[in-house]
Symmetry: C2
Subunit: 225 residues, 2 copies
DNA sequence: CATAAAAAATGAGTACACTCATTTTCTGTT
DNA sequence: AACAGAAAATGAGTGTACTCATTTTTTATG
């Protein structure tokens, strides 16, 4: 398609350094274009309503190329969760104001932000979100990435709980704590997806109430069971 | 619906009260054969690994016929959950021993039974289970049945919680109680699917501990948040 | 610059879930 | 029994996610 041929100027890229050759630059560009096209279309027409043909057309590549970058359409959709988690962690770490807040305030802020982030994709997010829960299986050897994703999220939460432990806000909970928060987040998203109240206020109200209630329980009971 | 039925002149079908003709009998038979074939194959090769062609072949029907009985392959898989819930309710109601047990014992027994029931289908059950959580959407106007299914389950749980309230085991929780139990069950299944311990003992142990712990919290704190 | 090897892109081909116009089977009526 | 209309079964056809042998582009090396 393109006829731009490189006349040899001897400037070889360094091995092992961060220097990017033409190949890498192009590759990244293509990936970005696929992602942009996919996100647009998923939001427009949902996950099922979008074909891989459309995505590749909008991205300006052949259909087969898409599958050189993502194993499946689902994987492609899953990528946005990867990004969400990364962005979330970066956002939290760059937010000095939050670092001084109480634990329920932190958790509320985190989950609220995640919901806001997901809002424009609400119509297609459920399909991917719940599928990412399925375990690895002989028959379906995909979900390794989602496994990693979940792990990253759990470790992030564990860090936040550890902070609260140090400040004496809560007793030591161990891994069960972050697992519980993760599960709770799952419930929040399920509720949020089904919430038809204006601006999803119902979900936010429940979220706030439950977080503070859980704090009280954790303090009084000590989670000794 | 039309109500023109059997006439006095004809020999009416005598099978049961529901007046079954040859047509109805055949229809039921076909449905049963599809279900039997599907369950076998899903357990053998998983949900993805089984084609609708195989199912119809094993059931001895044309491929198109399958879709006269079930809108999608997923619907077909979902049917086993329907059945599970019905069987569970019947089992509970026929179990006089359980009626006298404490709430956590009841819930443990119920969930334990469900896990046992699902065990032979473990490899394909996750795929369906989590998908049934997705809300109704314009783009994906299926999940009405799974909505109904969930509702039936929630009402069953609400009945059990109501019993416990009457006996003074727990304070009134309202609908939030059964919703919470349902969500908890979700977490249990997620844990169970990922549990590689011998005989899934780890899940059962956590289940037992958490149920009793939650009872203690409910009694002492009164769930007033 | 020429060449070869590696990486990336390509698109016709495949397998699958699902549709639908047509055919076959059943039922009530005369 | 004969018929007509309804219900059910059929299987060739359709659209789509994904594969893979081949072609094109990029890089490394003399």
């Amino acid at each position: 398609m393109k006829s731009k041929r490189k006349s040899a100027q001897n400037v070889p890229p360094r091995e092992g350094s961060a220097a990017e050759g033409k190949r890498d630059r192009k590759k990244e560009l293509t990936k970005d274009r696929i992602l942009a096209a996919a996100l647009e279309l998923f939001r427009e027409k949902g996950l099922e309503g979008t074909t891989t043909k459309e995505i590749s057309q909008r991205a300006g590549i052949a259909e087969g190329t898409l599958f050189n970058y993502f194993r499946t359409k689902e994987d492609l959709a899953l990528f946005f969760f990867q990004k969400e988690t990364d962005d979330l962690i970066a956002w939290y770490q760059g937010n000095t104001h939050l670092a001084k807040a109480s634990l329920p305030e932190k958790l509320f802020a985190i989950m609220h932000r995640q919901l806001e982030y997901l809002a424009p994709s609400e119509d297609f997010i459920g399909a991917v979100f719940f599928r990412s829960l399925q375990p690895h299986s002989k028959l379906n050897p995909l979900s390794l990435e989602s496994q990693q994703l979940r792990l990253r999220y759990l470790m992030f939460i564990r860090g936040i709980l550890a902070e609260a432990e140090e400040k004496g806000e809560i007793p030591p909970l161990g891994d069960l704590g972050s697992y519980g928060v993760g599960l709770f987040y799952l419930g929040v998203v399920a509720h949020w997806l089904n919430d038809t109240s204006e601006g999803k206020q119902k979900t936010l109200a429940v979220l706030d109430r439950v977080l503070h209630g859980a704090m009280r329980i954790a303090r009084k009971e000590g989670w000794e069971w």
